[in-house]
Symmetry: C2
């Protein structure tokens, strides 16, 4: 809560660009003002926030009044502004917000941001069990990628706990509130938000979806009206959830087996372990990683999504010769490469439980796929050449507009309050290293074109995809583990291609020369 | 050349059961007599053998007269007897053989058996290259298993060099002679031989097959009229060779890709290496084996044959849970098990070239097969229960009648003159150990019923298959590598099943207690 909106809030409170001391004073004054409005309303007669949202901002589930405590200050301030300006419509909130001054709205946001949020269930609860049997839990945790609908958890955090300044918590908000907000996006009664994302997403939800996902998040947190553990039974009918989904699925060449159809017994346990490693890599493969990415960061929908290097399409193409190491690689060795490069770690030994579980999970996803046959959706799409040569400056502008919301203007990604990386770092110390496939511009462009921004895959032009791919691959990142001791020699040996920026000078910096986390090209 | 027929020959020469000294004298006398007939004919006016078959018994290719030098004494003696008695018909040989006495026939056979055979091309030539493009080479080296026609090399040795007392060399015999013999089996002009095998095999050959295979063997050896290296080009049209073959193939659920369709480049080389390891295991995986078996000993047709535990059906079923070691095994680990048990050796390390090549070869054979799906022909057939409990004595009798010809009455298999095991040992030191799948009676019975005797699979009754499986698995063999130090405890832990004879007492011997090569139950 220390960035753009907060700077504005402080400026509004203090009436000037604050020094360190005046900033402290301004915050103190704003908190006092916000506290007063929250508990007592305004002298002009506006009611206390607490009268509907509870003494500690905990909300009132029975009435559908959301919790306010712990909301991101930017997000909350923007919502109050939207009510005040009429772009977010609410019979209750519009009159109140419009009668608050800008300074008062920011003070209220600042006050509630500082209240402790209710204790959340920790991620080892719901998240450790990868399969959800009911519609809401599935949407929340797995999405419906056949319609390119990502899981709610992919932006709102594994437990819907909220991430950063712009992505609010969902867990524990009242069912009626969550349901109404999704309805408001569908009807246009609420602005679609950054990148128009929530408008797109809500537009893909059926009435049953809306109720299901609202019910799910209402029940996850301790504030939920009918708190219950999320349904996680296996073996439920996990088929397509809507006619549209079925139609989309029918157009694809291969579909991995539905979630919940895994075998029972030890094989099923190993498959589940593989899926957990894949989706929560930092937790389940800690010994082998050097960054907080997850396998799923580059292989969306738990490795199921076509055009996102799906596991099922890769599995059936190994053993295969790879120019990268000049020999025939088994699938197990290919997985080792992911750890070495994309995860910037070290390879789990052949036969280790980690590698066996991942191989077994991939095998399961490939069930029924023809051995040795290239399937539609394999790898990332191979883009056509862009009309103009990829351009750093255009990429930088596009990145700021379309990518930085989630990945940060510094490319470092975003974590939730517990420190779990929710949005992967695209460069810098916490990102994949120079040896990763994603460090090749063509690979990144293909991934971006098909899948980015999340849930908005296919919205960028070919030119834009190449531009932004060049931009993100033109930043420093951890050294290629095959480093020979010389950037020039390493480029000549492993990166002698127009697709790699390794060894190129960008903004005066020799890429590959280290200082991975130095802020470059801002 | 020291067994039944030789004993008879010596007895005929010496007129009595020979002592060591009298045996030497008898052999010496027979060789003198044989030499005289071979070079000068008989006093009664029969022509010298050498007049047609050459001074050193090398044959006369242009006239179609076969080489005699180095023929197995039993085989040659039996042929002369068959000419003499009229069961083998030949305008040239019948009158001569019938005018020789039994003693003279045996002397001639003994003489020619002792002549050095012409130098053969060694196996590293033709055999090291696994794919043959033309019909004759394919039949000779690969057979046509869709019609359950084994390769000629499977009995006559990798280079057609002949094996043991009953299986003559083919390599270097004249084309016309080989062609005429196959024709004679087809027409009944020559006895079908042991088990009637050659009658069955010749009956499956078309006229083109006969010429092709005769031409192949005629050209392999240095005596061939038109000696040339066998055709071994890849990529030739290796489709089904006859309408009948196509019809049979059409009835099967999965067909591995045809030989010769392998990819080029490094992947193709690794596939070829895997096939070589599979078919010539003692040569290409020497470091990891403890017996002279080949992978192909139990997985016929280079791992391609349905109902013979084909590689393609196994490949798509891994990773899988195995009760044998209580965890999920990758295919690589499953292969390791073959080395540990069936090959009585040690497991090649995960990622070793040997294991990667075998996995890659299996992957190739499974090309197009659906991942994770059990295919028709997987494993060995599961037989129904026999009408009577499996019986050792019945098994012993059947073994002597139908199995001992190839595998030896002592179960030790048979090697060619170079010491290469052509027929695998079924028990004793050179066989699979107690931990192998084939040491389970039900597995052995399934294999036998489907595949044994070679080329005569399906000819035994269910009862016979169970009886002979019990018999061969009721002999001592190398210790189970999981041995706990106690046969009783090892049985309780790993062999507590009616399918294992381990730990049972047979003919006064506790199976599993060692002395693997001791001749038991003769």
């Amino acid at each position: 809560m220390t960035r753009a909106w907060l700077a504005l809030a402080l400026a509004a409170c203090a009436g000037a660009q604050p020094s360190a001391v005046s900033a402290r004073n301004a915050i103190s004054a704003a908190l006092t003002l916000g506290h007063a409005i929250a508990e007592h309303g305004t002298p002009a007669g506006l009611p206390a926030c607490a009268s509907c949202h509870g003494a500690r901002g905990e909300g009132l589930a029975a009435a559908g009044y959301p919790r306010l405590a712990g909301l991101p200050v930017s997000y909350f301030g923007e919502q109050l502004d939207a009510y005040a300006h009429g772009s977010r419509r609410s019979a209750a909130m519009q009159p109140i917000a419009s009668l608050l001054g800008a300074r008062e709205r920011r003070a209220v946001a600042l006050y509630y941001a500082g209240l402790p949020p209710p204790r959340q269930r920790i991620a080892t609860g719901a998240q450790a069990l990868p399969v959800a049997a009911d519609r809401g839990a599935r949407l929340a945790r797995e999405g419906r990628w056949s319609e390119r609908l990502p899981a709610c958890s992919q932006c709102h955090g594994p437990d819907g706990e909220g991430v950063g300044e712009h992505i609010p918590p969902l867990a524990g908000q009242p069912l009626a509130y969550l349901r109404d907000q999704l309805g408001a996006w569908q009807s246009g009664a609420r602005p679609a938000g950054p990148l128009g994302l929530m408008g797109v997403i809500a537009g893909k939800l059926s009435a049953a979806d809306v109720v299901g996902v609202a019910d799910y998040y209402a029940s996850v947190g301790p504030l939920g009206a009918a708190a219950r553990p999320p349904s996680i039974e296996r073996g439920g009918g996990a088929g397509p959830a809507s006619a549209r989904e079925e139609a989309v699925a029918g157009a694809r060449k291969f579909e991995p087996p539905p979630r919940g159809s895994e075998p029972s017994g030890e094989l099923g346990r190993v498959i589940a372990r593989g899926e957990r490693i894949f989706t929560e890599t930092p937790r389940y493969a800690r010994a082998y990683i050097g960054n907080p990415l997850r396998c799923e960061s580059c292989h969306l929908d738990a490795g199921r999504l076509a055009d996102s290097a799906p596991l099922w399409a890769a599995y059936v193409l190994y053993p295969a010769y790879r120019a990268k190491n000049h020999h025939v690689n088994t699938f197990a060795e290919r997985l080792q490469g992911c750890f070495r490069y994309s995860m910037n770690g070290r390879a789990p030994p052949l036969g280790s439980p980690t590698l066996v579980a991942l191989e077994t999970y991939a095998y399961w996803l490939a069930r029924g796929a023809p051995t040795g046959v290239r399937l539609a959706g394999q790898g990332y799409p191979r883009l056509s050449e862009p009309p103009l040569p990829p351009n750093y400056a255009r990429g930088a502008q596009l990145y700021a507009e379309r990518c930085a919301l989630c990945h940060g203007i510094d490319g470092a990604g975003q974590a939730n309050a517990a420190g779990q990386a929710v949005f992967p770092a695209l460069w810098g110390r916490a990102s994949f290293n120079w040896g990763a496939g994603m460090a090749s511009i063509d690979q990144a462009a293909g991934f971006v074109a098909a899948n980015m921004p999340l849930a908005l895959g296919g919205t960028l032009s070919v030119q834009q995809a190449w531009d932004v791919a060049l931009y993100l691959d033109a930043h420093e990142r951890p050294q290629d583990p095959r480093f020979t001791g010389s950037v020039v020699a390493t480029r000549a040996r492993f990166h002698d291609s127009a697709e790699s920026m390794y060894g190129r000078v960008v903004n005066g910096h020799l890429l590959g020369s280290g200082a991975a986390a130095a802020p470059l090209a801002r």
